[in-house]
């Protein structure tokens, strides 16, 4: 008893006089509950992946490669057709969002870590950036609707702006974490050669942190590719290819999944599963490609 009181315990001191067997049984029960929670997480994950793979593959790879090329049918109950325009829309929207958010996010993180450090401004930005990552994506979509779509109309670029706003705090956070890992003696060696701070950052610090920045940004890109809510307001709806980034309504895989999921027509539901599989594949392939690319750059150096 005395021993137990000496360890400061918030959840009540363990009663060490109780029978040894019950105490270890209790610990065993709790451990098995922890294992049960692992199963409880794995089960829905496996169920979702299984459903997407089986139901999606039978649609998407039926008459390969039609599904990945053809236009979306205008009549929902008609079977066949494909997700070609949606694939292109997703690539355009996500690509443009990446081109906006990654450079700005990296630059912002450079300020936070290399210049600001612990001053009040960068503390505030760091805090607000965490808060910003919690802003619901639908609010971000309405924001872009008000400041962009109302003035310039539906376009893939509006969707890209919304996704860029969602990605920005993620890229800032990931990049700052990587900059923290760059050892200080690299910077000092560069200064000792008379190099300016901006050159040190762009030629020494950023290249050293590049692989980490890429994988952090990739997570943000993969998340953005699956976003639906912000696109509903900014991208609009289309069933044909639209190669123009700044003009006319476009479409995306996530929008097509959302639209077809609640349809009562089996053909539309099938297309939703096919689009879900395509979305997962596109994200996976893009991630893989970017990883191979950075690995190659790293090896060249």
């Amino acid at each position: 008893m005395q021993l137990a009181q000496e360890t400061e315990v918030a959840a009540g001191p363990p009663d060490l006089t109780a029978k040894q067997s019950w105490r270890s049984v209790k610990s065993g029960i709790m451990t098995s509950l922890m294992i049960a929670s692992v199963v409880a997480i794995a089960a829905p994950l496996i169920a979702v992946v299984w459903a997407v793979l089986t139901r999606g593959a039978s649609v998407a790879f039926h008459d390969f490669p039609d599904f990945f090329i053809k236009d979306v049918p205008n009549i929902a109950r008609r079977p066949g057709g494909g997700m070609g325009p949606a694939i292109m829309g997703t690539l355009m929207v996500t690509g443009a969002a990446t081109a906006i958010a990654v450079p700005l996010g990296v630059l912002g993180a450079v300020y936070l870590h290399e210049y600001g450090g612990k001053n009040n401004f960068s503390r505030l930005v760091r805090f607000m950036s965490t808060v910003m990552s919690g802003v619901p994506s639908i609010v971000m979509g309405l924001f872009i609707y008000i400041v962009w779509t109302l003035h310039f109309g539906y376009s893939a670029f509006g969707g890209a702006l919304a996704l860029a706003c969602l990605m920005l705090p993620v890229v800032i956070g990931a990049t700052e974490q990587m900059l923290r890992l760059v050892p200080n003696h690299l910077r000092e060696a560069s200064y000792a050669l008379g190099t300016s701070k901006s050159r040190t950052i762009s030629t020494v610090v950023l290249p050293a942190a590049l692989p980490g920045i890429v994988s952090g940004s990739l997570l943000a890109v993969a998340r953005a590719a699956g976003e639906t809510a912000p696109l509903l307001f900014a991208v609009g709806a289309a069933n044909e290819y639209n190669p123009h980034l700044f003009q006319e309504a476009n479409t995306a895989l996530s929008i097509q999944i959302f639209g077809n999921a609640t349809s009562s027509f089996v053909a539309a539901q099938d297309r939703a599963w096919g689009a879900a599989l395509t979305l997962v594949l596109v994200t996976f392939l893009a991630t893989l490609a970017a990883r191979v690319f950075t690995a190659r750059i790293a090896r060249k150096r």
């Binding site: 979702v48 300020y111 401004f121 050159r199 699956g226």
Partner: protein, 291 residues
Amino acid sequence: MQELDLRGNKAYLDRAFRWSAAGAAALVLLILGLIAVTITGRSLPVFHEMGLKFFTTTRWSPPDALFGALPFIWGTAFTALIALVIAVPISLGMALFMTQVAPPAIRRPMVYMIDLLAGVPSVVFGLWGVLVLSQHFGLGRSFLTAGIILAIMIIPIITSLSREVIETTPPGDKEGALALGCTRWEMIGAAVVPHSAGGLVGAVMLGLGRAMGETIAAALVIGSALGQLTLHPLSPGNSMPAVIANEWGEADTLHKSALIALAVTLFVITIVVNLIATAIVQRSMRRAQGL
């Protein structure tokens, strides 16, 4: 020896770089401020029409220009609550298992599993929820179905944050408890929980913020019923983000303003929850590092 190339060393370039970096950082503040100003501005017409009745009445009927958002606010709170009740024990169990029980060899695959779960787009969870979960498990489209889907979606964030917090427990505390004869569970209660309680609360609150703001999955499975102020988990209902996503397409000007007012409400609630959660997590992390 190679000649040094000092051409990039002009002082004004250095200053320009510094200022553009500061500008990029300030962008975060600018965007947050702009969001607050623009969406509040667009929501004014409906507040002009309804006043505070927007928050206190239950009748939502766009043709009659009646917008009472109470059922949707309730639906958001109710589904988020169900999601937390399911997700918190599972996430904490998983985090404790990964940090206290699992042998190092299987920790990495478990991190991958959590990452994978976090990487599944929410619309895919929604699709699975509406075509599999709600149809084959007798749940229908209801508060409960939405709560389950939201729980699956917030488990990764709560688990990975809790794991980070728990991992900062000093090994000395844990070894001390074990040396005094504690079982593993008693050690968790005596060393891990007191040390990480603050951070765990923050992690749960961040999960709460996510659950309330999640749109698409909820919009697909919640059932889009109007005027439901009920505690019954199997009845179809609606939540703020789901209403916005489902009704936006056919909304006229005042209706759009009402939907934007819902977004303002959602924005304010999630910002408050996130501010508190972030402050708690950052404080407990700083304390854990002994700063």
